[in-house]
Symmetry: C2
Subunit: 449 residues, 2 copies
């Protein structure tokens, strides 16, 4: 007999069917045992008798039974199959589960984050975890599809790189045969090279940062959603593309992930007709006037400034997002285009959302001599950038691009407290699947920032 | 003035337009200079006079001009814009290129592969290189879209892993803070874990092999197109899914990449109504009968056997593809399901195409005790597989999956001689962008196999 998915039962009332899935929860009512069966399409209630007496959560079963409408007073509006239930005829166990380390039959798991990660293969099966990664899948496909519509080509770039191009301290070293190589901190140089080939490119690339600290916003391996585009008329073209992409992502999440958003009581960012933009110095000035904090000579926005300017923009413009532009030249990488009107600042931007950086981007230097000079001024050896510099030596149009972290956007859209919840198998200096060090006097469990 | 793409000119005859792109080629005819301008949509002919006298290949230009129909005898059927040309009014140079190291204005670059790779940012701009990566983009999206239609969830798995799970010698080591970690040889264990979460998953994952040899078929970093599915009734379900995916890939390449296929005089694989399948031992028997080579007791197919059985299947069944099944247990990884009827062989398969392995896959052991036992029999420590084994301890249905190498499929579809041509920035033991060692007496340039 063909397998029926739980969600398909609502169209099969009165029919004999075969279901497969996991026991999500078991409730005993005298001789009657109710099982919630979970499969990839959702949850369905199975009414059993003694056939189910030895079953426990996460047992994998095949159930033959009949689809019946539930009595009116028993309808469960919280699940899509809430108007039906299955009268079990025969149950076959496909695989047994051992006893679980914690109760998974609850709306929200009652365990600490380290425990959640220690038992990742199990905790990921919970409805809230599944929801996070369904939303993440949509974010990624929204990014991809919006760019394909705009004439971008999807490319695949390497992560093993010959030199630590963006600063040596936070880079992981690889033993590469009898040499040393490094893990890429971003696909930046390759996506720029590829502007020379396809004009508009994007890539989904793992990026690696050897950050020797534990925060709620950083992991050592993350997925960058990177785009780069040539023949821009100004750096505002790049911000316009970011806005197009973000709107498509939100539209797709809105459409595909209503249930997931509800589970987290999450709402998508509020947007005004156009995302507001202001220079970093303007933002500091506004903050000074609002709350008296004088960071007007600081070379970057402090985390508390990012939160404050987001509050301001939400009040003034009704927008959860804001572009901050013109960061100082010395705070941006060597390839960032200086503002011709004031070269101490750059044609760069961050998109802030709900108090945190969501996207970073800018126009790049496309003139070969100017770029070569900057490589040297930043203290790098041109020979280490040979392949990259070639792309500019052989003609590169005005260009720029941007990058989103997939995990961070997921975290921000759903309002998660820790980025680790938005990574299937998060890596940090204390964990690569298993804990690398034991937590010191329980301090780690509550660590925040 | 809005930019017009070269391909859009065919609908703008008589109009004044602005084009942007690279000088692909220059031909002087007395006072008239013909430029081929290249942009992301294709090539178009520009008719210039002295404004173009200082231009050379790869200069980046903006051209204001008028779209004119070409005289009948001047129509060029080889390019999509062959019926029009642009009369240039004004040319502005956006970026100059230095003199090129080789002539790029030819149908096929006349340089060796090492030189092609030494000048990758330039050589990738050639029409043949661009074609390769447009086809690769289609292969990847064909894989993704066919699986999404079949209820698969796209997942993102890490590449930094705690243990060298699939054999220690060919794995790259990373210095991970004060520890050692490794680069994943495949996303295998993670995709299996995720069957417990979403039943059907796929991932595009970089895989790393420290192969200390140079062949035409291997690179040290490649893109794996990996899928895994639960609740299979038999391992033939997996092969049926492979067939569905391959047919979708071919259909999409056929539809989107006609021009690219033509450039390589490539034809898509011939397919019979159903891809033929046979056991490895049967294949060896057939080869013995056909050509007298007796490898009937060998534990694997030799490269020449793979080519021979493909010839046989093409002659007998009119198929360029064939499934070879039931490889010996000792030649497959510890998680491969042994055939209950003859446990010396496994429920595994390779899909061979045109003499080479295209896909590998099989059913996995889903019973926890059996898997735990195999981890030990294969000489591994269960503690190193803690996270992986958890997925089975907490209930895993019968499952299996498969993997394609994106570069290899690209190479095979286009009939390329070397897999490096199908990787934007190929890595091997002698190259990470730049050559790590100098070629010895020119031998490397011709190295094949």
């Amino acid at each position: 007999m063909e397998r029926t998915l739980s969600l398909e039962t609502i169209n099969k009332i009165g029919q004999e069917i075969r279901l497969c899935g996991w026991v999500n929860r078991r409730r005993d009512h005298g001789k009657i045992i109710f099982l919630d069966l979970r499969d990839r399409s959702g949850i369905i209630q199975i009414v059993c008798q003694k056939q189910a007496k030895d079953l426990r959560p996460e047992d994998v079963v095949e159930i033959y039974g009949k689809v019946k409408p539930r009595p009116k007073e028993m309808v469960n509006p919280k699940i899509q199959t809430g108007e039906v239930e299955i009268e079990a005829k025969k149950i076959r166990v496909l695989a047994k589960a051992v006893e679980l380390p914690f109760d998974t039959g609850v709306d929200k798991l009652k365990v600490s984050l380290p425990t959640l990660l220690d038992y990742r293969p199990l905790s990921l099966r919970h409805s809230r975890s599944r929801a996070i990664f369904k939303v993440q899948e949509t974010i990624i496909s929204g990014f991809r599809e919006s760019l394909k519509k705009q004439g971008f080509t999807e490319i695949q770039v390497p992560t093993i790189v010959p030199t630590a191009t963006e600063g040596g301290s936070q880079v992981f070293k690889i033993k590469y045969f009898d040499r040393q190589a490094f893990l890429a901190q971003s696909p930046q140089l390759y996506k720029q090279i590829m502007v020379g080939v396809f004009e508009r490119v994007f890539t989904l690339a793992h990026a690696y940062r050897a950050e020797p600290s534990i925060t709620t916003r950083h992991i050592t391996e993350y997925l960058g959603l990177d785009a780069e585009m040539g023949f821009i008329d100004s750096f505002e073209d790049i911000m316009a593309m970011v806005e197009t992409v973000m709107r498509e992502i939100f539209a797709q999440v809105e459409k595909k992930n209503k249930a997931e958003l509800e589970l987290f009581s999450a709402t998508l960012p509020r947007l005004s007709a156009k995302i507001p933009m202001m220079k970093m110095r303007q933002a500091q000035e506004i903050i000074f006037k609002r709350v008296g904090r004088d960071n007007r000579r600081e070379p970057d926005l402090e985390p508390e400034d990012e939160r404050e300017i987001c509050r301001y923009v939400l009040e003034e413009y009704g927008s959860d997002l804001v572009f901050i532009t013109h960061y100082p030249t010395k705070k941006r990488p060597f390839y960032t285009y200086p503002d011709p009107k004031d070269p101490k600042y750059t044609l760069s931007f961050d998109l802030l959302g709900r108090g945190l950086e969501w996207v970073t981007g800018g126009q790049r230097i496309n003139d070969y001599q100017m770029l070569l000079n900057n490589v040297k001024v930043w203290g790098n050896k041109p020979a280490d950038f040979d392949i990259y510099l070639q792309a500019f030596k052989y003609g590169m149009p005005p260009e720029g691009g941007f990058c989103l972290g997939a995990e961070r956007i997921t975290m921000q859209i759903l309002g998660l407290e820790n980025i680790r919840e938005a990574s299937l198998f998060p890596r940090d200096m204390e964990r690569v699947d298993i804990r690398l060090t034991e937590p010191k006097s329980g301090a780690k469990e509550n660590k925040k920032k």
